[in-house]
Structure formats: C-alpha cells, structure tokens
C-alpha cells in the first residue's frame, strides 16, 4: 500500500497551454494498492490536470513523441521511463519540443 505522495509536476515549452497555462503544479497523489510509477502518473494527469486535447499530450500509455520527460532534472531515459517508481517530493518536468524555437 503506497502512502499519499507529494510531487512537483511542471510543464514547459508550450505544454502548459494544455493545463490552463499553469506551469507548476504541486500535486498530492492518493493512496493506492500498487506503487506509483510514471505510467500511473500519466493516467492520473490525464484525469485530473489535463484541461483539453489529451491527444496533444498523451499517446497510448505514454507521452506524445516530442515531449521530453525529466525526473529530478535527469532524462527519464536514464531512470527507467514509464517504470520509474516515484518517491515523495520528486520533481517531474514535461517539456514540449514541438514547433518551438
């Protein structure tokens, strides 16, 4: 049984537009039987934070290609991607690189 967990979730590079233009979200994830990982977090974000056009953020069970994910300032590719087990006070950042620059 995973205890409730507090995270700082951030959106940048234009991805914040899908979240009411708000870049930083201090969120508390509820208790649930299995541990929280990024895969679950994305589902939770889709249900609780995402305001519009989910297809611009999520594709299947992962993020849309072109959106980078950083866990505590490190590339999620180094952290196990969807399988990374979240810990209390983790910082997860989503940066869109689509049509920017």
């Amino acid at each position: 049984m995973a205890a409730p967990m507090s995270l700082l979730v951030e959106f940048g590079g234009g991805a914040e537009l899908l979240f009411d233009g708000i870049k930083k979200h201090q969120v508390t994830l509820p208790c649930q039987p299995e541990p929280w990982d990024i895969r679950n977090l994305l589902k939770w974000i889709k249900q609780n934070l995402l305001k519009e056009r989910p297809e611009l953020f999520i594709q299947g069970d992962t993020v849309r290609p072109g959106i980078l994910v950083l866990i505590n300032d490190a590339d999620w590719e180094l952290m196990g991607e969807l399988d990374y087990k979240l810990q209390d006070q983790d910082n997860v950042v989503f940066i869109s690189t689509l049509h920017g620059g």
Partner: protein, 512 residues
C-alpha cells in the same frame, strides 16, 4: 543508399532505440552520473554536456569561417528555445578568455507577430514586456519590430544587393590577425575598447527608442489580419509569415549595418523544414533554406549556427542552465494535427524519432549533402545574375524544360482550366462546346485572375503555390506589389530590346 548504410553502422537496418541502464556513468568523464542521453545512447553528466554544447557552437562558427572579427551580427530572437540558447552561446562566447573568444559585434532583433497569431493587444504588450526583460539583460543593442511594419518596407528589400568584393572576403586569417593586433594595442593603451563603447551607447539608444504596442497603428494591424485572412490554407499562411518575417529582419539588418543574420534553426527544425520544402515543391531552394549559410540576399548573409543541435539538447540545456524563454503562440498553436503540411511532417518525424533516435540526424545529414545550389555556386564572374523569385529571393527554378515535372503540371493546369468554363452554363455564351477556345473564356475565370497571371512568372514554384492559395492579391503589402510591377515593366522592356538584339545577330551571324 549503400553509402548511407556504411556510414551509419552498416547494419543495413535502422537501429532501434537502445535502453540505457540507470547505473551507467557519463561517457565522457566516466565519473559523474549522467543526466541525459543524446544521439544514440550517449549519456552525459551535466558538466560534460555543458562543455559539449558550448564547444559545438564555437566549432560550428570556426569550421565555417563565416563571421569576421569585428563584423556586426544580428541575432534573430523569437523567444523560443533554440534562438534563446543561441543568444546564451553568443554571450558565453564573448565573455571567454581571449584565445577562445568570439570576436563579432552582436545585436538582437525580436519581431512581434502577435497580430497574426491571435494575441490581443494586452497579451502582445505582456509578451513584449517579457522579451524586453531578456533583451535588456543581454546588454546587447536590440531592435523590436512589429510584423505590421512590413507595410512600410521599401520595395528595394526584394532586390539582390551584390556582396562587396572589396571586403575581407579573401583572407579570413588576415582579418583575424589584424583584429588581434588592433586589440592588443588597445589593451596596452588604456582607453576603453571603442567596440564596447559603441555597444553601450547603442544599447542606451535602443532602450529609449522602443516601439510600444500603444503606438501601433490599428489600421496596419487590420491590414495584416486581412492579408492573412485572404490566405486559404495554414500551409500557405506559414510560408507567407516566414517570407514577411525574413523581409523585416533583412530590412533591419540593412538599415543598421549588420552584414550577418544568425537564425536559431535547430537540427530538428531544419529536418522538418527540409521534408516540408520537398513536399511543397521548394526542392530547388532546399540548400539555401536549410544550409549553414544562405547568401540569397547578397549583401546580408544568413547563418544557422544551431543547425547541429537537436531540439532535445536545446531543451535540456535551457532547463539545466536557466536560459529564459518566452512562449508565444504560433499561427497554429494547438491546431489540428493535420492542419498544415508543416504539422504533418513534424508529427511524422517525431513519431519515427521516438523509436529510431537517428531519424532526425539522418534526414538532416541528407540535406547537408545538398550544400550549394548549382545556380549560385558555379556562377562565373561577369555572368548575368540569375533571375530571382520575387518573394523568397532564391534563383528561379521555373525554366520550363521539355519533359520536366513543371511542364507536365503547367500543361495539366491549362487543360483543367480550359474545361471549366466550357462545362459551366455561364461560359457557354461565346465558345459553345469548342475544345480549342481562346481569349474570351480565359477572361471569365475569376476576377483578379489577370493580376495573378502577371504575378506568377515572377515566383519560384514553391512561392507560386503560396500565392495560388490567396483569394486576393490586393492585400499584399505595397512593396511586394510595386516591385512586381517594376519587374514586369523591365521584362517588357527587355522583350522590346530583344527584337533589336536578334536583328543584330542576324546581320552578323559569324560573331560570337
């Protein structure tokens, strides 16, 4: 294709995405824990990544030897990630120890495109404020322009100004040595560097004389909205915006004496542009549009020093090293996936890239092989300047040769246009059912078709498509229309003169 396989590992099949373990160390220093993976599976720690990133910028400029010491260089800043990190690289480069120092004089231009991207005046003012904070903090002189200012551009902006051959073109090495000598003298002599002094003065001047949104003529905003409203497709709108933006940047560069413009196109952006250009029929100007250096305007050369950075590297650099960016909506922000060819291609590339991380760099390197357009590179001295497209200033690719794709398109276009009036009841009056009609029917097609017919021959194939997507050419800025008029008159005059030239030749057939 065989060559490509050899170069990229020779496995004959694109490499899938390798999974990187958590326990891995930085591939460069082999000590620190890595923070990101670039290229295909290379993990870098923060310090090594920074060094790699900064070095790549200097190496890019050094390798191409495009910028001379003391040259004025205008940085085109959009507030987006790539151009913002380009600004940071220039700042880093200028503050380095002498041996590795960049030695040019930078200035910045920011163009407010809010009017066509659906921003209200209040939102535009807010964006401008954020941009100004960044611009002022840079300490470089800067220029703020509104896209509306294209309506005040002179038609000379569309003219090719030959590069001054008396310039330091011949010896890059001499120019560098001369500059270093000069700088040593100054350092010994005590008085402040005139270059820095001028820079400070300019910065002061710019800060006092900033165009604000309050001063913006609403008439021109309406004109601009009307212009973009007359363009039917998002694809053509994007092309038009790019063209107008380039003209405004070129104008500022010429007016303020900048001989180079730096654009922050990333490798990812250029790969999208390359495939987009191909599908838009802009293949002929591919090398110009995506290469490192672009001299289509002659006197002002555009360089793209960010072209070897992937969007991912740029996003990470900005995030890890606190580079400020300002997000401004684009023409198509949150638009439908398939709204324009640009979007379709972007999605296609990113989709492939997710599974095959070398996709973007492979596309990009393919583009790199098309380094120079034959029309420009092989131009003998004294040979006639090639005719250039009215809008994008690339050498015209529209010589209709027998059997070319363009000829086929033109023929089928003519045929389909001829059938239409004959089939419609309105067109029946003068030439009933006749297959080979002329004169009367072509005039009945559409109002403004005449103006269009005059316009099209002045454009390259790609720009023709953009113009064809416009419902009304009258909303084009005056500088475009008057330059078109001027070229049309010149072409007519040339035709008249041609008659004499032909007669001349007939008299002396033995010559030449």
């Amino acid at each position: 294709m065989c060559q490509a396989q050899e170069q990229y590992g020779g496995c004959g099949w694109p490499q899938g995405r390798p999974r990187v373990g958590c326990a891995q160390k930085c591939m460069k220093c082999k000590e620190a824990s890595p923070v990101l993976v670039i290229r295909v599976g290379d993990a870098f720690c923060k310090a090594c990544f920074r060094e790699y990133f900064v070095h790549k910028f200097r190496a890019m400029l050094g390798k191409n030897r495009a910028i001379y010491p003391g040259e004025k260089v205008l940085l085109a800043l959009s507030g987006g990630p790539a151009s913002s990190s380009m600004l940071r690289q220039v700042q880093e480069g200028l503050s380095r120890e002498t041996a590795k120092k960049l030695r040019f004089i930078p200035g910045i231009i920011y163009i407010d495109e809010g009017a066509v991207c659906g921003q209200s005046l209040a939102e535009r003012a807010e964006t401008l404020l954020q941009m100004e904070t960044i611009l002022q903090a840079s300490g470089f002189p800067y220029h703020l322009a509104h896209l509306e200012e294209v309506f005040d551009l002179p038609s000379s902006i569309l003219q090719h100004v030959p590069h001054n051959p008396a310039g330091p073109k011949n010896s890059y090495k001499e120019a560098v040595e001369g500059f270093i000598r000069q700088q040593r003298q100054e350092e010994g002599g005590g008085p402040p560097l005139p270059e820095r002094h001028i820079q400070e003065k300019l910065a002061e001047f710019c800060m006092q004389d900033v165009p604000r949104t309050e001063g913006l003529a609403t008439v021109q905003t309406e004109q601009l909205i009307q212009l973009f409203g007359s363009v039917k497709t998002l694809t053509a709108k994007e092309e038009l915006l790019q063209t107008l933006r380039n003209h405004l940047i070129l104008h500022t560069a010429r007016a303020q004496g900048y001989s180079k413009v730096m654009m922050g196109d990333s490798c990812t952006r250029l790969a999208v542009k390359l495939l987009t250009n191909l599908s838009l029929g802009r293949g002929a100007s591919l090398a110009m549009d995506t290469g490192f250096s672009d001299d289509r305007h002659g006197d002002v050369v555009v360089v793209r020093p960010m072209r070897e950075y992937a969007a991912k590297e740029i996003a990470f650099y900005n995030h890890l090293f606190g580079v400020p960016t300002v997000f401004t909506p684009a023409l198509d922000t949150k638009a439908l996936e398939k709204a324009s060819i640009h979007r379709v291609i972007e999605r296609f590339l990113y989709g492939l890239q997710a599974e095959f991380p070398s996709t973007v760099s492979t596309v990009y390197r393919t583009g790199e092989k098309l380094s120079a357009t034959p029309g420009d590179a092989g131009l003998a001295p004294g040979a006639a300047e090639p005719e250039r497209c009215l809008l994008c200033s690339c050498a015209l690719d529209t010589n209709v040769e027998d059997g070319s794709a363009l000829q086929a398109i033109l023929v089928s276009e003519q045929l389909s246009q001829q059938r239409l009036p004959a089939a419609s009841p309105a067109g029946r009056g003068c030439c009933q059912g006749a297959e080979e009609q002329r004169g009367c029917c072509t005039n009945t097609t559409a109002p403004g078709a005449d103006a269009r017919a005059d316009f099209l021959p002045l454009l390259c194939y790609g720009c023709r498509l953009t113009i064809k997507d416009m419902t009304c050419l009258e909303s084009l800025p005056l500088y475009v229309r008057s330059e078109a008029e001027r070229r049309k008159r010149r072409a007519l005059m040339k035709l008249e003169i041609q008659e004499f030239l032909l007669e001349d030749e007939a008299v002396n057939p033995g010559e030449s």
